[in-house]
């Protein structure tokens, strides 16, 4: 599963969370980080990153915001 599909699933189940993660154009918000294991998705393939089986995905507000 790619990160984009994961975010689609989150948005489908929790719309208010979904729009906090991505804007209506589908872009990951600038100060939201997605970690695949210990790796920031922005250092991989961004939302096209494939999530390996069994690896935890963490969604976090970036320290750059606020």
């Amino acid at each position: 599963m790619r990160i984009s599909a994961l975010l689609d699933a989150v948005a489908a189940g929790y719309p208010a969370i979904g729009r906090r993660l991505r804007d209506e154009a589908g872009t990951l918000r600038r100060h939201v980080n997605v970690f695949v294991g210990a790796d920031n998705a922005r250092d991989l393939d961004d939302v096209d990153t494939v999530i390996p089986d069994g690896v935890e995905v963490t969604l976090l507000p970036a320290v750059s915001g606020g």
Binding site: A16, R19, R20, D23, E24, A25, R29, H31, V32, G66
Partner: protein, 373 residues
Amino acid sequence: MTESEGIDASAGDVVVLVGTSKGLFALAAGPGREGWRLHGPWFKGEEIYAAALDCRHRPARLLVGATSSHWGPSVYRSDDLGASWVEPDPETLAFPKHTGAAVARVWQLQPAGDAQPGVVYAGVEPAALFRSDDAGESFRLDDGLWGHEHRPQWQPGGGGLCLHTVVPDPAGGPRLGVAVSAAGFYRTLDGVSWEAANVGIRAPFLPDAMPVFGQCVHKVDRHPAEPDLLFIQHHWGVYRSEDFGGRWEEVGAEQLPSTFGFPVVADPNHPGTAFVLPLTSDAFRCTPDGRFRAYRTTDRGESWEALEKGLPQDNAWLTVLRDGFTADTLDPTGLYVGTRTGQVFGSSDGGDSWGELAGHLPPVLCVKTAVLR
């Protein structure tokens, strides 16, 4: 007070909403406008560029355009003066997918007049107009303005490409004006088609100083009883139109200490009376000579007088943003100004004298007021 408490105010009271870079505050007082009570903050940590207290309904409805740096923008509403809030679900203040755009910030929430009690306009960044017909519960994009032929050439101002001002027809007609920084003033006369309406406004920062569009209009205001009379504070210059933007004439160039500034406020009680707050240049953007002064005209911009009693006049290097100055509908008119240094000043006599209502808030982004019915 705690964040969960609403504004302590009742019918006849004046409420001043203060949107800041770190949340929403509110001041409330009786019609005498003394003994101001400070409430808030709500939406801690979020930028509040837009707020409105819509008193066309009972109970009055609070609308707030908040932007979280992490989670993006949203318009919240409260029907109990801030004791509780509703977040829209789904969020309709959003661009349709076919546009490929996304709302970066809500710059303005503008209820229409009493003749259209359900209509609320929202101006956003990237510059677009949204309209609600259910008092802010849901919005739809104005496709006519979004599809305007000029749009591909619109350039942003220093704050971004934002639609920051909406000027509805107080009688509820189809005429509507909007201001975009830095595209200029646009109007619709039929409610469908839009046209640039900047004739007479100089844009010295462009090769053609009198372009059809591209002006950096900072703020527009009108008097409710004279809807054809508009005032503009432009990037350079204060302008007046007597025909709802058909033509503009510069005013005050020789009398104001600077023609640069952000807000302009039309006195809702006195046609032809308006207020500006000059700042020294677009590079410095602070009050001239270290003196915090508003300026008032009572003759449609022909002459201007400085208003300074009770305002700091010594080493006061202050900035007021485009929505940081507003007027209430009581007579004498109450005026309220918020600064980027977190101060709010108020006058209960049309600007003749002022006092500090709050002195230690986060940077003020917008000040809006209403009298509870």
